[in-house]
């Protein structure tokens, strides 16, 4: 249990998707103009990451890993399908995003209208595929740990995009040199925020 909590906190602050691995930077820069829309996208990312990472974990554990198919038949013990992981992960992500979209539309039309256009875009957000690939690389022990990692990374991404959107809303009133306005200053702010987040390095619960 403590290990799960540790992974959760670590993936929010220390291994933050944006500041430590630059994942999901495209939408992070494109959508972070107002706090409201960025919060919408952030929630959608938390949602999708918390679902896709455990599903991809199970897929990796029972289908793709070397010898993972041995539950089917002892003859499959040395089958290694890990080269298929990219294409299967992205297929799972694309279809889960579609499914999540349909479920939300059915049960919570209010949330659906506020997430609206962002949900389909999430399928090609690198933070989502990155979450699954990191999960595969780090060999988490069980579904609980994988879920904690997915949820934590999502929340970390959410914090990052809301923070930058808030700063960008304020910075409009500052005197930024003309060539730096917009994209340039957003990069430099992200760098400075990354330095701030580095102070969490080495946190352990």
């Amino acid at each position: 249990m403590q290990e799960i909590f540790n992974i959760f906190v670590k993936s929010i602050f220390v291994d933050n998707m944006v500041f430590a691995y630059f994942l999901g930077m495209c939408s992070y820069l494109a959508v972070s103009k107002t706090v409201q829309t960025s919060a919408g996208l952030g929630i959608a990312v938390v949602f999708v990451l918390a679902i896709t990472v455990p599903v991809d974990y199970l897929l990796n554990e029972y289908v793709l890993k070397p010898g993972a198919l041995s539950w089917l038949d002892a003859g499959f013990a040395d089958v290694d399908l890990s080269f298929l992981s990219f294409i299967l992960f992205i297929a799972i992500i694309a279809s889960l995003v579609q499914l999540v979209e349909m479920v939300i539309e059915k049960f919570s039309p209010a949330l659906y209208t506020s997430l609206g256009i962002f949900l389909p875009l999430i399928a090609v957000n690198c933070a989502i595929l990155g979450g699954s690939l990191f999960m595969q690389e780090r060999d988490y022990l069980n579904v609980g740990q994988a879920t904690a990692f997915g949820l934590g990374s999502g929340i970390g991404w959410f914090l990052a995009i809301v923070a930058i959107a808030a700063i960008r809303e304020k910075i409009r009133y500052s005197k930024v040199p003309a060539p730096l306005r917009g994209l340039g200053i957003a990069f430099i702010i992200t760098g400075l925020m990354g330095i701030a987040f580095m102070s969490f390095l080495g946190i352990k619960l």
Partner: protein
């Protein structure tokens, strides 16, 4: 473009522009804001940056070519899935080649080879160019955008490795005398935040030289 069927030379002025534009005025990273994730994560050293640039160029070229050849037979509703499948298959090929020939670099790049699939350059160029153009110009557009992306990666990798570890391509080039004199490598250049700040500075330099790119 034209209704006449005159044969256009393979490297006509228009096609050459497809390659040269993305290197400067339409650079995928600094102007179109595409494919930033991997650009920053793999550039602590020059060698992985170079390998990444080559891999992305290969994948953009061929995914543009294939999607453009299929563009009239892809139903628009499911085009994203079709594009992802084509890209993912190409990335698997690249990944296996890297694992076979440059295993150490492939270890360093870790998940970022797989992340080429969701690199926005690919989807961006497929949607913006390959879906509405003939295969050969699309191929060149992929080449140009891959090179423009690679250019920024190599600038970043060069700067960060030079100041961060005093080396280029793994060979140290800062003379020992300088270290004896009190020079130290700036470890900050290796850390992730510095990559962002360097890109910020590249954008600053580019936009102050080309005022038409400035946003308000």
């Amino acid at each position: 473009m034209s209704t006449k069927h005159e044969k256009e030379p393979l490297f006509s002025a228009r096609n050459r522009k497809l390659i040269s534009n993305p290197l400067g005025m339409e650079n995928p990273i600094t102007v179109q804001v595409l494919g930033i994730c991997s650009a920053l994560a793999v550039t602590a050293k020059l060698k992985p940056a170079f390998v990444m640039a080559v891999s992305v160029t290969v994948v953009t070229m061929f995914s543009n070519l294939i999607i453009s050849a299929m563009r009239n037979s892809i139903p628009p509703r499911i085009r994203i899935i079709v594009q992802l499948v084509v890209i993912a298959s190409l990335v698997i090929v690249v990944d296996q080649v890297l694992k076979a020939y440059v295993y150490d670099v492939s270890r360093q790049l870790s998940v970022f080879v797989g992340l080429i699939i969701t690199n926005c350059i690919l989807m961006g160029r497929l949607e913006a160019f390959a879906m509405s153009n003939k295969p050969w110009p699309s191929f060149l557009d992929g080449l140009g955008n891959g090179l423009g992306y690679g250019l920024i990666l190599i600038i970043l990798g060069f700067t960060r490795e030079l100041f961060g570890s005093g080396a280029i391509w793994g060979y140290s080039i800062v003379p020992q005398a300088l270290f004896d004199f009190g020079y130290k490598n700036n470890g900050f250049f290796i850390l992730p935040p510095m990559a962002l700040i360097i890109v910020g500075i590249i954008i600053w330099i580019q936009r102050s030289r080309n005022p038409e790119l400035v946003e308000d």
